[in-house]
Amino acid sequence: MLKSWRCCLSLFLLGVLGPGVVSAGHSFENTAIVRTVELGGSLVHVTTTYAVKALEDGSRLYTLALADSEHEKTSWLEAKIKGEAAVLSLEEFGYSPDGGAYLYTVELPNALKANGTANLVVETVQTHVTYPWPDQAAQSDGQSLKYETDLLVLSPYHTAVQRTKIRSPLPQIHSYTTLDDFDDFTTESPVTKSGATITYGPYYNIPPSSNKDFIAEKQKHVIVHYAYDNPMLEVLSLKRTAEISHWGANLNIEDKVHLQNSGAKLKGHFSRLEHQSSQYYGRPSPQMLPALTLHLPAGIHSAYFYDLVGNVSTSHLRVAPSVPKGVQSNLNSVMELRPRYPLMGGWNYSFTLGWDSPLRDYAGWDKQTGKYIVGVPLMTIINGAVVNDAEIKIILPEGATDIDYSPPFPSLHSNLSTHVTYLDTIGRPAITLHYKDLTYNHAGTIYVTYKAPFSTLLRKPMAVAAAFISLFLVGFAAKRVDIRIK
């Protein structure tokens, strides 16, 4: 997502605007920056609140800066005005070589007058930013992770005060960087810890920081080592196939998932005896994944869960009744999957999960354009897991034309292909979208519009009928022609 923006937009913009891009925005001052880091397993949620004061009239474009390392690991970035739901439009300017950071421009909803203020909330989700430490843990051991980040939030503007809060899911924080020799922007102790929260700051009077000199001289690196007693999950690859069938009035969705427990690797070997006794005493191994609970759409039927060696019988599905489209509802079918074996640290499990759902819950017909619109869910959230590599393939009915699609956020790359399946004559058009590092925030809907005239519906029965008629004709002829040698 971020990378794709860089590819598409920023290179072009950089070439045109050159390094002067930094000053393209208006001038602001940060009266306060508060960054809150919610530590997790594979995903770390970061909320940064910028209290912004305009220094001149008509200030509308605010520039955000992300450090190089942070940018690489940020898979989701969203800016809002505090207390409002509307998402502000973001434009990426890419890497600024002399700034040493990636820059984004946020367009505020209203231009600010001089000394006008706004509270900007920037939410990011970071992936692949934590790692298990120690990287091996025995079956009954706990699991600890390390999180690394930069101390100061970069900004091209002067900052009056900023602080960083790092919140751990458990109060057991083994260690954190104490910054004993840090006395640049503060007179008090640079870091305080209370319970599960570590607060760095407040730091006062930070000059514009998104430049190389500042980063080289002032920026600090902090590491937090904390206990985490949930499995750390990664979906190495997700292949979703959504097949739209007008004949069956059906939307079939099938996910091929390669799941990995990327937490601390199992030290030694798995002992079933220990596993069973810890289950018996109610103390399951913290890094183990015994089962997954997935929230599938309402109204699904014919769900299946299998892997390379066949059906996995250990799953339960509680189906919620179908919800008509357009109706707000938080009904979900709940699928409990139990992999064949408990997923210990470093273990893999690949499986296929699929279901059918009534097409009427997803599709509509636009009278004005004569086009069908189908909303295909982009992914199913696996709690706490990052999807490293996703390929979403949407197969449209045979003979669909004027295909158009709008994903909730741009894909890395996409292509149109032809997919030939049951009794097709010319094949079905298929859209394939590729994504990287998807998180729970990315579970949007891909809207696909296409025209499918009535004649395309008749293609299949005609083809089958023609095949049978020719078969009968051959039989008819063969019965009546005498090929014996007299």
């Binding site: 002992s271 079933r272 019988s313 064949r340 009794l423």
Partner: protein, 781 residues
């Protein structure tokens, strides 16, 4: 003439013929449907999965064929089997089954029907069972008539003896072989009856297909020559026989030699010599017949006969001589075990260790054939009544197959078709007799009676047993009566024997007819019930997945095998080598996709014995063997927790026996028994038993599972000593949910060069006892 009930006489012959053929098609379609449906229990109760052991290899090979094409498959060398030897798959299998699935797969995909190759493999056997029903119909039609054919088709469609080998998922060679067997026999009978080279060639082509599909083709290779020989000896030589046999043998043998696994066997092994010998004999007899028709001198004829017999003896002598010289391979061990049931046990324990090679128990005849068991002899006797050439075939087939079925459980499969054919002949004769409306004329002279009833019986018998076809009998009577074969009247005579001067005998009235027919139909109903019950309970378990019941009565699936195999597949390095007993080789290769030391293609007895030795020796002895074979994981099956009786401890004695066959000094079976001669695993067990790798791996940490109470092995019902076993050279790597599959990792050599036992003791903080001499380091290569 008196009739028990009247038939409508105003139906035109054309209507009758059309109705009859329509009914026949419907009946065959329903039979096919029933044959397919009754084999789907396994899919419905469990899932669409490949069953048991051998099918997993066939399935894996088919996947290679489907994904990489036929030539790749043909040249496929599988380095993961028989590690480190590897296996040339293309040259060591019968490719017919895989090729069939591959063709079906490609045809369906060409039609844009992307059916999964697994589903094709799973459903191939039911599909072919429908074809078997049809070919049995064709075969039996040649023996008697269409109604007997339909009965035979219905019998073979649902008889458990055949279902046992052809349920959905049982993707084995037998799945298509029985169809090919019956169709080849049909073509042979047809060729023999008509003297048609076309049908002889067809028989040869299907014989080739059969050779490509199943090792049991040798049955055809010997059945047809045996039939021909019997016909010659009965003085029934004819040019039809000559044409049929020559075209079948010449084309069939040349074609069969194209299968790489068979190669030159048809001219070099004893199993095939009968066919060659009969072929030679036929040429001599044909020559003699030819000369006889042209020469009239009696002396010359007797000279000719002498020379013919002399040539025959010379030929037989030549074959025997070549065998002694080694040009023709003598009978193989498997073949000897057919004649001497004790042979395998003494000489080839690996054959004897397979349960399906055991002699058949009597109840299994009833279980597999039900009422057909006692209809079968009646049918064979019926064949004697007419004794046309084809009836000789059925009689020979019945005798030979009965013997083989008694010797080996799995050969019940070859007996089943002839049982169905013979039973159908008997049953349809019974129905014909009792449905036929004609009553014997009391006033008439009894000698005239037979002549009258004969055409009627013939007409009735060619219809099916339904009322509609019975109605055709009157119409057909006029048409077919003049050409009726005289042999049919013999049946009628058999059914209504009458002697001169006695009161005419026969069936009078409707009530007698009803009593007999109701009983007969009742028997058929019980047959159907029995077949359904046996199929659903005994033959539809995939054996990869076990079923049990939850306390609330719902089905609980015990899926330990797949759990462990899938764990191996997903969480071990791809080049790992897994050692297990050979039973699980194909499953590991198919499901876990890892290299195995031995598998179900038991071609290398020494290699299997090596595994047996490793399993039955102590850790110190086994470790160098494991390391030499690059074994990373050892997989065993342990049923003690759940009471799964097919586990490795129960198979252990076979491992010992097979290892003993190669290393009689190191492994001795008696050492594994208690002094009283019992096979025990509790604290009475012999020290050799307790120290064996298999015992240690099976019970490693098992008593701990029971906490303070006594650990009980639920299969053997014995108490396991609390002390438990220790393992120094292996690590427990994975144990499945119900402990059925246990996987151990072989430790690498100690980096400090100690032997692993002392390294382990050191790691546990144990001091080496001074009194004990220092443990000598084991040489490991």
């Amino acid at each position: 003439m008196a009739v028990a009930y009247s038939l409508p006489s105003d139906v035109s012959p054309a209507t009758v013929t059309n109705t009859r053929s329509l009914l026949r098609i419907i009946a065959l379609a329903l039979i096919s449907g029933a044959a397919i449906a009754s084999r789907l229990f396994a899919v419905i109760n469990f899932e669409s999965i490949i069953h048991e052991f051998d099918p997993w290899f066939n399935y894996r090979a088919t996947r290679v064929l489907a994904s990489e094409g036929f030539y790749e498959f043909w040249n496929w060398f599988d380095p993961t089997a028989w590690y480190p030897l590897g296996r040339v798959v293309g040259g060591t299998i019968y490719p017919g089954l895989m090729a069939t699935s591959g063709v079906i797969y490609n045809v369906l995909h060409a039609l844009h029907l992307p059916v999964d190759i697994r589903n094709i493999c799973v459903l191939l056997a039911p599909g072919f069972s429908a074809l078997t029903a049809w070919s049995t119909y064709m075969f039996t039609k040649e023996m008697k008539d269409e109604s007997a054919g339909l009965l035979a088709a219905a019998f073979i469609g649902i008889v458990p003896g055949y279902i046992s080998r052809s349920v959905a998922g049982s993707y084995d060679n037998e799945a298509i072989a029985i169809f090919l067997l019956m169709f080849t026999f049909f073509c042979w009978i047809k060729a023999l009856k008509t003297g048609s080279a076309l049908f002889g060639t067809l028989a040869a082509l299907f014989y080739f297909y059969m050779v490509a599909a199943w090792g049991g083709y040798a049955f055809i290779t010997n059945m047809i020559p045996l039939h021909s020989l019997a016909l010659i000896l009965m003085g029934r030589y004819s040019s039809r026989l000559y044409v049929a046999y020559s075209s079948w043998y010449a084309i069939g043998t040349l074609a069969s030699m194209q299968v790489p696994f068979v190669g030159f066997q048809p001219v070099r092994t004893s199993e095939h010599m009968a066919a060659l010998g009969v072929f030679g004999l036929l040429q001599i007899v044909a020559f003699a017949e030819l000369v006889r028709t042209h020469v009239s001198s009696k002396q010359f004829q007797s000279l000719l006969y002498a020379s013919v017999i002399g040539m025959g003896i010379l030929g037989a002598g030549a074959i025997i001589g070549l065998t002694y010289k080694g040009w023709i391979a003598p009978w193989t061990g498997r073949f000897y075990s057919l004649w001497d049931t004790g042979y395998a046990k003494i000489h080839i324990p690996i054959i004897a260790s397979v349960s399906e090679h055991q002699p058949t128990a009597w109840p299994s005849f009833f279980m597999d054939l039900h009422s057909l068991v006692f209809l079968f002899p009646a049918g064979v006797v019926m064949c004697f009544r007419q004794l046309r050439d084809e009836h000789v075939f059925v009689i020979i087939y019945a005798v030979v197959a009965s013997y083989f079925a008694g010797v080996m459980v799995r050969l019940m499969l070859t007996l089943t078709p002839v049982v169905c054919v013979a039973a159908a002949i008997a049953f349809s004769s019974l129905l014909d007799t009792y449905i036929e409306p004609t009553e014997p004329d009391v006033a008439d002279d009894s000698s005239g009676k037979i002549a009258e009833t004969a055409p009627a019986v013939d007409a009735a018998s060619s219809g099916s047993s339904t009322a509609v076809s019975a109605s055709s009998s009157t119409a057909k009577k006029t048409k077919k009566a003049p050409t009726a074969p005289p042999s049919v009247s013999a049946v009628a005579a058999a059914m209504t024997p009458s002697k001169k001067g006695e009161k005419p005998r026969g069936i009078f009235g409707l009530d007698t007819r009803f009593i007999v027919l109701l009983n007969a139909v009742g028997m058929l109903l019980f047959f159907v019930l029995h077949c359904t019950w046996v199929t659903s309970t005994a033959y539809s378990s995939p054996s990869v997945v076990l079923a049990s019941q939850n306390p609330d009565g719902s089905q609980h699936i015990i899926d330990d095998f797949r759990e462990a195999y899938y764990w191996l597949r997903q969480n071990t390095p791809e080049n790992s080598v897994v050692m297990s007993w050979w039973d699980y080789g194909y499953q590991i290769a198919g499901m876990a996709d890892r290299a195995t030391l031995v598998d179900n293609n038991t071609w290398n007895n020494t290699h299997i014995a090596t595994v047996g030795k490793a399993m039955s020796s102590s850790e110190e002895v086994a470790y160098p063997i494991l390391r030499k074979h690059d074994v990373d994981y050892v997989l065993i099956i342990f049923g003690g927790l759940l009471g799964y009786s097919g586990d490795d401890i129960n198979k252990f004695l076979w491992m010992v026996r097979i290892a003993q066959g190669v290393w009689p000094d190191e492994i001795q079976e008696p050492n594994y028994f208690t002094p009283k001669g019992e096979y025990k695993v509790d604290d009475m067990a012999s020290p050799t038993m307790k120290n064996s790798l298999m015992y240690k791996m099976s019970y490693y940490r098992f008593p701990e599972l029971f906490g303070t109470s006594q650990a009980i092995d639920r299969v053997r019902g014995q108490q396991i000593p609390k002390a438990g076993t220790t393992l120094d050279y292996l690590d427990e790597a994975f144990t499945s949910e119900n402990w059925i599959v246990r996987i151990y990792q072989v430790k690498k050599e100690d980096i400090l060069g100690r032997d692993l036992k002392s390294a382990n003791a050191f790691a546990q903080g144990k001091k080496r006892k001074r009194t004990k001499p220092p443990v000598r380091r084991k040489a490991t290569v």
